[in-house]
């Protein structure tokens, strides 16, 4: 047996096993690094914030509708009124019942008048 061969037999190789272990754990470490470096928020992490935002929007819309007058259908003259304002107008108008009744009937006819016919829809070029 040559000297080189004899040296190879006696050469310690346990460090290769340790390096192999470390190399294999490197794969796990890489996976862990990806996991902890890429922050992905949980699916329902912003659920409370989204709900609160929607609720605030609903409340704001309701507040505007309750407290301020606005158009419901401007061509037909339909408006939305806060109840207090509507009561004051009704009390003032009905001081003269005949005029008020006529006004009411005319407004009711205007409300129920048939809607103006729209122009024929354009042909769909894709059909």
């Amino acid at each position: 047996m040559s000297d080189e061969t004899q040296n190879n037999i006696q050469q310690p190789v346990w460090h290769i096993g340790v390096v192999f272990f470390a190399a294999c754990f490197l794969f796990a470490a890489l996976a862990a690094a990806v996991k902890f470096s890429v922050k992905t928020p949980a699916i329902d992490a912003d659920r409370d914030a989204a709900l609160a935002k929607s609720l605030a929007e609903i409340r704001q819309t309701e507040e505007v509708a309750l407290k301020y007058p606005g158009w419901v259908d401007q061509p037909r003259g339909i408006v939305r009124l806060p109840i207090d304002m509507a009561m004051q107008i009704a009390a003032r108008e009905w001081q003269n019942p005949d005029t008020a009744r006529k006004d009411l009937i005319s407004r009711e006819e205007k409300l129920n008048a048939p809607a103006p016919k729209n122009a024929a829809p354009k042909a769909n070029p894709f059909e």
């Binding site: 190789v13 190399a23 294999c24 794969f27 996976a31 862990a32």
Partner: protein, 478 residues
């Protein structure tokens, strides 16, 4: 190398260093192989005799099928592959395995991990990912056991006296690193810290392909490229083609395995198809190496034993690769993707190619490592023919049935239950195939066990006189 040459003292020492670890690895592998075949038989019977097992939740298809697959893959394939790799590295490098008790401990730890994992699957606790069903307990045991075994294989490789690297070295060393990479990554991202949405299915498919196709191919081809020259007695021909095979497997194998039917972004299956198409290079190179090495020796070396097992394994690899390339074509995958055809390809890859190659290697190396002959040499030939017939009866009906099933599923005029009834005939034939495989595996296990028992008895006979010997007077006085 000629096996008729009498073994030198160094050869005997080399073989003896691997003896106990190999017995521990192959003994357990033989048990899991039989368990896997028995579970596969129950799973197959569930299709045409569902009432037989309906009363027992442990034996329902959803539990038995993954248990059979995992028992075959983790129970047999990995320990057999690692054992054969350690022996080949030791032989090629002329370096003995040092401190063999550590690999023995690791082998037993591995088998314990498989047992824990299988009990979990059969009791209904799985991760739900194909080929990665073992829960954390089993997975951690498997990972550490593998690291110990592979670390010792690396130490054998480093201590080699023959410094020149040969084709089996490339394949086996790459395989040693491949498994911890894919197994750790898949377990961490699917079980420990599950990622979200489609990333889960992508990682599961990536793991399955890298384990079943790349890892098994690395070990199997490395083994075949070592044993062909050794059994025939002439060097491996067309070595440069083996290098092509190695790099095409490493480069293209890793991003294959995502079918067109998978619910993932379209670019992923497209890229996977490109990788699958590039396997033509692997197919051609492996075929060239095998044919140029073996051609002209088939009749003279036909032994109904190791040569036949490894030769059939290499042929199955080529056919399995052809099926895989076909599945990479989008038009064919849309027809056969969700059918029994994919199962046929998987079984051919795992059992036809890998298990057959391992049987050949074990039948060759175990008598040399243990320094005993197999107690029933005729059963080796019986095992070969049983396995071959079993593989044909298992794979062929599933492949034909799968294509017919796919074509009929594309036809809206045929009702779904009618298509399922048509595939029953193919399933019955495949059940017969599994029966043949089970019988073959029992013969293999019988040979391994009786040989292990004979070796243990011989060891006991050597030890007993030493134990029973009367103590010398001087020792008594002291």
């Amino acid at each position: 190398m000629n096996e008729n040459v009498p073994a030198s003292f160094a050869d005997v020492k080399l073989e003896a260093s691997c003896r106990v670890p190999l017995l521990a690895l192959f003994g357990g592998a033989a048990v899991w192989l039989v368990v896997s075949s028995a579970l596969a038989l129950i799973a197959s019977l569930n299709f045409h005799m569902p009432e037989k097992f309906a009363h027992c939740a442990w034996l329902t298809y959803g539990r038995v099928f993954p248990a059979a697959n995992d028992a075959l893959l983790y129970g047999f394939c990995v320990p057999a592959g690692i054992g054969v790799a350690i022996w080949i590295l030791s032989q090629l490098g002329r370096a003995p395995l040092r401190d063999p008790l550590v690999p023995v401990f690791a082998a037993n730890l591995w088998h314990l991990g498989v047992l824990v994992g299988l009990i979990e699957i059969l009791s209904g606790n799985t991760t739900g990912f194909d080929w990665l069903e073992f829960q954390r307990g089993g997975s951690v045991l498997l990972f550490f056991a593998y690291l110990l075994l592979a670390a010792w294989a690396m130490m054998v490789f480093t201590a080699r006296r023959e410094r020149a690297l040969q084709p089996p070295h490339w394949f086996l060393i790459a395989a040693l690193f491949w498994f911890p990479w894919v197994y750790a990554t898949a377990n961490l991202f699917l079980v420990a810290w599950p990622v979200r949405g489609i990333a889960q299915s992508v990682i599961a498919l990536w793991f399955a392909n890298n384990f079943i196709f790349v890892w098994l191919s690395l070990i199997g081809l490395g083994t075949a490229f070592y044993f062909f020259p050794r059994l025939i007695g002439r060097p491996l021909q067309a070595v440069h083609y083996a290098l092509f095979a190695f790099w095409s497997l490493i480069l293209f194998g890793t991003f294959c395995g995502i079918p067109h039917t998978a619910p993932v972004p379209a670019w992923m299956p497209t890229l996977s198809s490109v990788g699958g198409g590039m396997f033509v290079v692997l197919l051609l190179t492996v075929t060239i190496v095998e044919v140029r090495t073996v051609w002209g020796f088939i009749k003279s070396k036909w032994d109904n034993g190791p040569f036949c097992f490894i030769g059939s394994g290499a042929d199955c690899f080529v056919i399995s690769l052809l099926m895989m390339i076909a599945l990479a074509c989008p038009a064919f995958d849309r027809t056969a993707g969700f059918t029994w055809f994919t199962q046929a390809q998987l079984q051919l890859q795992i059992y036809g190619f890998f298990a057959m190659t391992m049987f050949g290697a074990i039948y060759y190396l175990l008598p040399r490592a243990v320094d005993l002959k197999f107690p029933f040499p005729k059963l080796v030939a019986a095992h070969y023919w049983m396995s071959l017939i079993g593989i044909v009866l298992l794979v062929l009906p599933l492949a034909i049935g799968g294509i017919e099933q796919g074509l009929k599923l594309d036809n809206a005029k045929i009702a779904f239950p009618e298509i399922m009834n048509l595939s029953l005939m193919y399933l019955r034939v495949s059940t017969v195939g599994i029966c043949f495989i089970l019988i073959g595996n029992l013969l293999f296990a019988l040979n391994v066990f009786v040989m292990t028992c004979v070796w243990k008895m011989a060891l006991l006979k050597k030890i007993l006189p030493a134990i029973n010997a009367p103590l010398e007077t001087s020792e008594v006085k002291s």
